[in-house]
């Protein structure tokens, strides 16, 4: 129908599959995200360290270069510690990227009362949260486990089958450590975004949860002479889990199992906050 005809016509064409509709949100959000030059620049910067690591792996396998530089062969070793540092650095970048992009996911919808418009369609709250979190999950995956596995693949290709079989668990650790970090960051960012209508305040809160959480943990430990304060320090909990996953010993104060439980607990709390806040209209009892 031509647009100049001012009469209404019902739609009788085909409809898309219901499962595919949460990707609609993902498409629109991602398009909006990269309109910001700063976020685009940060996203590009996030690939510098993986490129450096790639170069490192190449050099580690370049015998002539090592000979010429007089570097002993075992200095540039590619092992679990290498991948642990890779995930730690990329995890930091993931946090920065989340702090910039996460708060803008739900808060604009809440501020402008747009939630009823989503939920009056054949589109559930779960699909809404999935669609929104897919933006962060895919963005963070692109800078964590995807380059991590590419590096592992390059290293496996250069080092040979015996190294690959002996270190295959590292690939699993890269995946698992990335997944838990992405889940924590996405859920936390969305929960804060859902509870605070102002994007900037939500961003500040995310930073506060990380940094003040660490400070609060130290204060509790010092005052109560305990190690339980670490449960308030998300970064510490995450490091504990990563250390265990990459088998890097750094003598953490709380058991790994408890760190896992605490992280899963945080995920559950964030999910609970989302379930409570992401609804068409808030019911005031």
């Amino acid at each position: 129908m031509a647009v100049y005809r001012r009469n209404y016509k019902a739609y009788a064409g085909r409809l898309t599959a219901p499962w595919s509709r949460c990707f609609v949100l993902f498409r629109y959000l991602r398009r909006n995200l990269f309109r910001s030059k700063f976020i685009t620049a940060l996203f590009v910067v996030c690939f510098f360290y993986p490129l450096f690591c790639l170069l490192w792996i190449y050099l580690a396998h370049s015998a002539s270069f090592l000979r010429e530089m007089g570097v002993p062969g075992d200095v540039l070793s590619i092992d679990n510690t290498f991948f642990y540092y890779f995930i730690s650095v990329q995890g930091g970048f993931a946090f920065l990227l989340t702090a910039l992009t996460g708060p803008g996911l739900i808060s604009p919808d809440l501020a402008n009362g747009a939630l009823p418009l989503y939920f009056c369609r054949p589109f559930s709250r779960t699909e809404y949260v999935l669609g929104k979190s897919a933006v962060l999950a895919i963005l963070l995956s692109q800078i964590t486990w995807v380059p991590g596995l590419i590096l592992f693949g390059v290293q496996a290709g250069l080092a040979g089958t015996s190294w690959t079989w002996a270190n295959l668990w590292i690939a699993g650790s890269v995946l698992l450590s990335s997944f838990i970090w992405i889940a924590i960051l996405s859920l936390l960012a969305m929960a804060l975004s859902a509870w605070v209508k102002w994007r900037i305040v939500a961003g500040a809160l995310l930073l506060a949860v990380m940094f003040f959480g660490a400070g609060f943990a130290q204060a509790i430990n010092a005052v109560l002479r305990t190690d339980s304060g670490h449960f308030f320090d998300l970064a510490y909990l995450m490091r504990t889990v990563w250390n265990a996953l990459f088998q890097v010993d750094s003598g953490h104060a709380i058991p790994v199992a408890e760190a896992w439980i605490a992280l899963l607990g945080y995920c559950a709390i964030c999910l609970g906050l989302l379930v409570r806040k992401v609804r068409a209209y808030e019911v005031i009892k």
Binding site: M1, V3, Y4, R6, N7, Y8, K9, A10, Y11, A12, G13, R14, L15, T16, P18, R21, V24, L25, Y28, N32, P108, D109, A111, N112, G113, A114, P116, L117, Y118, F119, C120, R121, P122, F123, S124, R279, A280, Y281, V283, I284, K285
Partner: protein
């Protein structure tokens, strides 16, 4: 006015001459109750709404918006059941939402988006393929009169334009039922008229049925053929407006020249109640008495009728009666 509107009006007239087949029930409620904490907002509503365009009326806090939100599955019912197009609200809400377009009362938009992107996204979320959603977003924005402003960000729109954008997103996917919650809220008189004209246009197009929730009686009177009046969470009145008007055409006020007691007595003999003041006479017509009977009596007694004011019950009368009951 568009061709559709004219066609719709013609259909409407022919419809009144020969009554059309009754429409399938739009909303069926059986003891529907909604409770928030200790407050019971809707109390056992039972009705079957069949009109093409149904007005939901009631004072503030009567439960109009709650009823709409319950039908859309936003609130869970605490008792009873409700069906929209035969689908149960409690178990088949996804099917219902696929058939419904909703224009909420308050501001609802995404400020950083252009109107066309916003309406396209809403179309895609309703299941339209991306290319079709874009085409229909343009059409819907043209239709509501935002063609020139469709590439502007929604945050820069005036209140009237935001209302129109909300209407565009509600109709982009071609719903079978359009739910409008206070569509003329905050609009100036000319914008209100435009909105009412558009709602009438949609109603007369007969592609969609409408549920319009408002506390403005004139909006409902201008656009609806049935009205459901709520009071304190209960149904105070439900009726077809045309039938209601026909049934209540009782008040007649005439100004006469040459009338005497004989004229009044003759009218009273028909069973009408009369009140005479000088040359003015007010009467309540009895059952079966038509205005032509008054003219006949006046002609027989050579009484000249200078002015006749035949007053039907307005929606305001119906509303006030429902509130008093």
């Amino acid at each position: 006015m568009s061709a559709t509107t004219q066609l719709g009006a013609a259909d409407g007239e022919s419809g009144s001459a020969a009554p059309a087949a009754p429409l399938a029930p739009l909303v069926e409620m059986q003891g529907l109750s909604v409770r928030f904490g200790n407050r019971e907002i809707l109390r056992g509503l039972t009705a079957s709404l069949r009109g093409r365009s149904i007005g939901l009326l009631g004072p503030n806090g009567a439960g109009k918006s709650t009823l709409i939100n319950t039908l859309l599955g936003f609130y869970k019912s605490s008792g009873g059941s409700a069906r929209v197009f035969g689908y149960d609200v409690a178990t088949e809400i996804r099917k219902i939402r696929g058939l419904v377009g909703y224009m909420p009362e308050n501001d609802a938009f995404i400020s950083k988006m252009s109107a066309v992107s916003f309406v396209q996204m809403m179309g895609e979320l309703s299941g339209l393929p991306a290319d079709m959603a874009l085409e229909r977003a343009h059409e819907a924005l043209f239709y509501v009169g935002l063609a020139e402003a469709r590439y502007r960000q929604l945050g820069t729109y005036s209140l009237g334009m935001k209302q129109l954008a909300k209407l565009a997103q509600a109709i982009v996917h071609g719903p079978k039922l359009l739910i409008l919650d206070e569509p003329t809220n905050g609009l100036d008189p000319s914008a209100r008229q435009r909105m009412v004209r558009m709602i009438r246009d949609i109603r007369d197009g007969k592609e969609m049925r409408i549920v319009l929730c408002s506390h403005l009686l004139r909006d409902v009177e201008d656009t609806c053929d049935e009205v459901l009046i709520l009071k304190q969470g209960r149904i105070a009145h439900y009726s077809n407006l045309d039938e209601e008007r026909r049934a209540n055409k009782r008040f007649l006020e005439i100004e006469t020249y040459g009338a005497n007691g004989d004229f009044t007595a003759a009218i009273e003999k028909l069973g009408c109640e009369c009140a005479v003041a000088a040359n003015r006479m007010k009467m309540i017509l009895a059952e079966g008495v038509e205005t032509r009977d008054i003219f006949r009596i006046a002609a027989e007694r050579q009484v000249r009728i200078r002015r006749m004011n035949f007053r039907r019950d307005t929606l305001e009368d119906i509303f006030l009666k429902a509130m008093e009951s």
